[in-house]
């Protein structure tokens, strides 16, 4: 590697960040949209939520991964706002430490957004991974943010108190663990999920097999779902800015170019060595 290419390699990450920053600031491009107007996953999620009873009681398994939370954060917040707009009562539980940290941050954010505190219940952190999930189906002890009524219902009825379960996933204890440990132990409670695209291969069979009633699994599904919402006064609970597709497109093009360059260089090297062998 000569000095010129070494300097280019060193400068490339900074150039990429500068390029992404410029693309983030650039005006919207009309033809470039993140949302898919005909997202069946988004429609399925809306249908599943529509099928819930009035004032649904929903258990939120909040266990995203810090590394992928940026991808699902806006959709997760939109889903929480949607549930609150449907007069839902939400109980948050986490089975991982990072999930607990993010759930605490989101509960604090909902508090700042003046969400009705009587509709929020902090069940907290449940230790024991899969064993903790199984324990959750037998006994739930709660309550910090609720005025008492919701807490009493949950403590009295346990997991049977809930009309639906929403899993905000991203790490090992995501929708798969809920399907495996919780669903066989409870009745026909719909299980919904919001997961980053990296979990798509894991979640897809559960959606196809209808073990998950609905799931938002890609950024496009999430954007389509957010676009379909009419939250009225509660729109203050969703993020004010949507993710921008232009920097994502630019980043993907750069990634494809880097991969293509690496593949092309190997092929060229292979052809050269084959050519020199045939000459020799």
């Amino acid at each position: 590697m000569n000095d010129h290419s070494r300097a280019l390699t060193r400068a490339a990450p900074i150039l990429l960040i500068i390029g992404l920053a410029i693309a983030w600031q650039a005006p919207d491009v009309g033809w470039l949209r993140l949302s898919d107007a005909e997202s069946k996953r988004a429609e399925l999620m809306t249908s599943a939520l529509d099928a819930l009873p009035d004032q649904p009681r929903v258990l939120i398994g909040y266990d995203p991964d810090l590394g992928t939370y940026a991808e699902i954060r806006q959709t997760a917040r939109a889903l929480l706002a949607d549930l609150l707009a449907r007069d839902g009562r939400l109980a948050f539980v986490s089975l991982t430490a990072e999930g607990r940290a993010l759930a605490s941050a989101e509960l604090a954010r909902l508090g700042r957004g003046e969400a009705n505190p009587t509709r929020l219940l902090d069940v907290g952190f449940i230790p024991g991974a899969e064993a903790g999930l199984v324990g959750l189906t037998r006994d739930i002890r709660a309550g910090q943010l609720d005025d008492g009524a919701f807490t009493r219902e949950v403590e009295l009825e346990g997991i049977g108190a809930f009309d639906a379960i929403v899993v905000i996933g991203g790490n090992d204890l995501g929708p798969r663990s809920w399907v495996e440990q919780v669903m066989p132990r409870i009745g026909d409670v719909p299980l919904l999920s919001v997961t980053p695209i990296v979990l798509l291969p894991e979640v897809e069979p559960y959606l196809a097999g209808e073990q998950l009633a609905a799931g938002l699994t890609t950024p496009r599904d999430g954007a389509a779902y957010r676009e379909s919402l009419e939250l009225g006064n509660l729109s203050r609970l969703v993020e004010s800015t949507e993710p921008r597709p232009l920097p994502l497109l630019l980043g993907m093009l750069v990634a494809v170019a880097v991969l293509g360059q690496a593949l092309g260089a190997r092929m060229l090297e292979h052809l050269r060595s084959a050519g020199s062998r045939s000459i020799g």
């Binding site: 495996e180 073990q211 950024p219 800015t241 993907m252």
Partner: protein
């Protein structure tokens, strides 16, 4: 905008700290490794501290100490839990046969739940869902059959160390290539996720920290 921080002085300080640490991490891209190393230590320390805090305030306190204090004789299983925790904590000074008991119970219980759940919750329902049924559309039938074939080939790909025939060897090689293809697709998804994270951090620096709107 991440909206994690509000408008109080403490939130402003938190935003500045987050921005500075983000810049330090991005600085590693241009070779500034020493401060980046410190930021890794900071992350590890914060994570450990947070974990300890959760363990004390949400597990040991409310689920162990408080029930025992309220009814010392009514919950014998909690005393067994105390004994196991004490054994685990004293592992460096105890005989190996004794110190391995809590770890064995923990690993055994986790494996039992994970394996049992995988069979009851995933394997059987997924086999049931992928069985080719009469009356389904052609696409569903083809997809189900393809999934079954790919699953079988990848499972055969994990066979090793036994004498094989030509057919099994070919199937195993095909299964390994399918596995590599699947991993390639998964890495593609990972690139999308990480790219979104990078763009989100840039948006945080420009929007939340510098206040540059769009």
């Amino acid at each position: 905008m991440s909206d994690f921080f509000g408008t109080t002085t403490a939130d402003t300080i938190a935003t500045w700290i987050a921005a500075i640490v983000t810049l330090i991490v991005l600085g590693a891209l241009i070779g500034e490794r020493r401060v980046f190393g410190w930021s890794q230590h900071l992350l590890a320390g914060l994570a450990t501290g947070f974990l300890a805090l959760i363990a004390l305030t949400e597990v040991i306190g409310p689920r162990l100490v408080q029930p025992l204090a309220a009814d010392p004789t009514g919950r014998p299983e909690l005393w067994a839990g105390v004994a196991l925790v004490a054994t685990a904590a004293g592992a460096p000074w105890l005989p190996r046969q004794l110190s391995m008991i809590p770890a064995s119970i923990a690993i055994g219980a986790l494996a039992a739940f994970a394996l049992g759940g995988a069979v009851i919750g995933t394997l059987l329902p997924q086999i049931d869902a992928s069985i080719v049924r009469q009356g389904g559309s052609l696409g569903t039938t083809v997809a189900g059959a393809s999934a079954a074939v790919v699953t079988a080939l990848v499972l055969i790909g994990f066979l090793h160390g036994r004498p094989r025939g030509r057919l099994v060897t070919t199937a195993a090689a095909t299964g390994r290539w399918l596995l590599i293809g699947g991993l390639g697709g998964w890495l593609g998804f990972l690139i999308v996720s990480r790219l979104i994270l990078l763009v989100d951090r840039i948006a945080f620096l420009l929007g939340d920290w510098l206040g540059l709107g769009r």
